[in-house]
Amino acid sequence: MKFIDEYRDREAALRYARQIAKITTRPWTIMEVCGGQTHAIVRFGIDELLPPDITLVHGPGCPVCVTPVELIDQAIAIASMPGVIFCSFGDMLRVPGTQGDLFSVKARGGDVRIVYSPLDAVRLAAQHPDREVVFFAVGFETTAPANALAVLQAHQMGLKNFSILVAHVLVPPAMEAILQSPGNRVQGFLAAGHVCTVMGYQEYEPIARKYRVPIVVTGFEPLDLLQGLYMCIRQLEEGRCEVENQYTRSVRRQGNRAAQQHIQEVFEVVPRKWRGIGELPRSGLGLRAPYQAYDAMRKFGVVARTVEVHSECIAGEVLQGARKPTDCPAFGTRCTPEQPLGAPMVSSEGACAAYYRYRRFTQKHAETP
């Protein structure tokens, strides 16, 4: 595949790895923000190519991981209602709420469907005028344009039976929360290339300055990640703290203006609770007043009840890079992908699951948390 295969070239990867080793003089801890990057790092074993001084920590950029239990419970409540077709991306179906997950709702007879796109849910609503179609709108800035478009399409079509359960979160507030946390170890960031494709990276410039931390907007292929790491380490070694863009083939400084306009038409910035982290101000998106008819939470009158997260789970610290999954007393024993205690064990991009799948039994895992 063009624009994929060439960035997996082994020889180039090894050359980048060699250059990284050459410029690294001290230990550095770098966080890749995005779960997609975590996935690629684990899948290609990128961390094995790095010198022992470089520690990668996995960031909070997995929507499955950060959606709070309360919202999962609401999703389950709505999906259990008769007449509802509840649509979601696949991974969300296995996230445990306080009483089971969305897969169990399906097994009990609920009409829960995996869709590829929120636009598929709009299509379903048009096809089933007698049913209520609800889309579980999770995701970061990358997915926000798609969800905005779904609402606008439904609006244009005059669909009264479509709504979304909004769980949108924003990356910069989470990065700030990590940098502000007392135990913070993160010294540099690989920013999420697809989030920045939509939003650009101007927002990151004040963060880099304020916290004196280098931020490199990075893509998802091995060479992207290695180049991003090289650029980040080089800044660290040179004492710089700038926002740089590795992923220039997709990311412009201003981002995608058309997408941003549509997001702003439909959504506004709201406070949001993150699983394992807590509520962060201005860290999520909610529907603007003119589109509240599409708000599933209002439509079905489900109330968010605050829920105690399972006490053993240290997901909050894992998601902030403060501790690693193997530091968790439940990891691999009471918490497994079959019976997850916390969300990071659910998503295939979740740090605990990635760790469980790929690292559990290899010797060389000391350098990655």
């Binding site: 595949m1 684990v42 290609f44 094995e48 991974d91 399906k106 097994a107 091995p222 992908p337 799948r357």
Partner: protein, 351 residues
């Protein structure tokens, strides 16, 4: 029903964990294996415990292979095959993987009321055509019809009988450190062909299922006198699940070389698009043969003479000092990762 009480107190099904059967319990992943463990414990069967593709039985003076599978694929017709062809291939292949010559099949239909008779006719024709292609006979059968809304068109359960005409003990327990893993061709086509025509995920592709009987290459290997330690066709869970099962059953480690595994570009593309790992995608006409390293060249030469295994290649080896019961993958970048079972079916990773 004498003897029932003996068994009641120790029901080993994972009741606590999942009070209800989930789709994942049939998805080829970890939940399915847990359920099979529980069945094997209840049925107290050494043969079930071998976790091979079928049972190897001594009956009278003969050694036979015996296997069964249910086929519930949707849609019933897909590029490169249909449920009838799939049933014959799946059953014949499990027999072949026992090192047996497939001879006889039984077919059990569970039909949903309202199924177009013409659909049934096409499936039955395909079933028979595939049986002829695989040189097996359908000798016994059964048909049940269930109320509309209690089935899904056609379910087929098939059992197969084969004769083992040699004395090699083929199975996970025969695998030895130093053995190599041969793969009969490119992977992932069946799973992607099915996904391409599934409602909700549909995309256009020329990919066709690899669905095919594997009898001929296996019998040729046996005829050539190649020493075969283990054979396994790749079905639900793909190459990864097949090798993980063998690694677990044999207590050894299997090292795979990612760059050696043939994957067609369109299959790779579909996997990128859906966020799937092709190593876990289903196949229906591919198998692995684990043989002593010294036999590898001869085995590959035999396999490559047959169209269905023309793309055979060496993809890995069995080692002694790795993590017990694990499969590791040497990636295209030269790094290593562990291949583990998914919980259920691999879900498209979108977000």
């Amino acid at each position: 029903m004498s003897g029932e009480t003996d068994f009641m107190p120790t029901c080993p099904l994972p009741l606590q964990q999942y009070p209800q059967v989930l789709l994942a319990h049939g998805g080829g992943g970890r939940l399915m294996h847990q359920l099979i463990d529980a069945f094997a414990a209840t049925f107290a069967s050494a043969e079930l415990n071998r976790r091979h593709d079928g049972a190897t039985l001594r009956i009278g003076r003969e050694r036979l292979a015996f296997t069964t599978d249910a086929f519930v694929v949707q849609p019933l017709f897909f590029p490169g095959g249909d449920i009838g062809r799939l049933a014959v291939c799946g059953t014949v292949n499990d027999l072949a993987m026992c090192g047996a010559r497939p001879l006889y099949l039984s077919v059990s239909f569970i039909l949903e009321e309202g199924l177009p008779m013409e659909t049934l006719g096409r499936v039955v024709q395909s079933l028979q055509a595939t049986a002829r292609e695989a040189s097996v006979q359908i000798v016994t059968g059964d048909t049940k019809v269930v109320d509309r809304g209690k089935g899904d068109g056609i379910f087929i359960s098939m059992a197969g009988l084969g004769l083992i005409e040699h004395s090699q003990p083929i199975g996970p327990e025969a695998v030895r450190p130093g053995d190599v893993v041969l793969l009969s061709g490119d992977i992932g086509r069946h799973g992607i062909a099915i996904m391409a025509v599934r409602e909700g995920l549909s995309f256009e592709t020329t990919i066709e299922s690899d669905c095919a009987p594997l009898t001929t290459p296996v019998l040729k290997l046996l005829k050539a006198g190649v020493e075969l330690h283990c054979l396994r066709d790749l079905t639900r869970g793909g190459l990864a699940a097949a090798l993980i099962e063998i690694a677990q059953a044999s207590g050894l480690t299997i090292e795979l070389d990612e760059t050696a595994i043939p994957i067609r570009p369109e299959v790779q593309s579909a996997c990128e698009l859906l966020g799937l790992d092709p190593l876990y995608v289903a196949n229906e006409g591919r198998f692995v043969a684990i043989v002593p390293e010294a036999e590898a060249a001869r085995a590959l030469a035999v396999l490559q003479t047959e169209p269905v295994s023309a793309g055979a290649c060496l993809v890995g080896r069995v080692i002694q000092n790795g993590p017990v019961g694990f499969v590791t993958l040497r990636t295209s970048l030269g790094t290593t990762r562990v291949l583990d079972l998914f919980s259920g079916e691999q879900l498209p990773r979108i977000c």
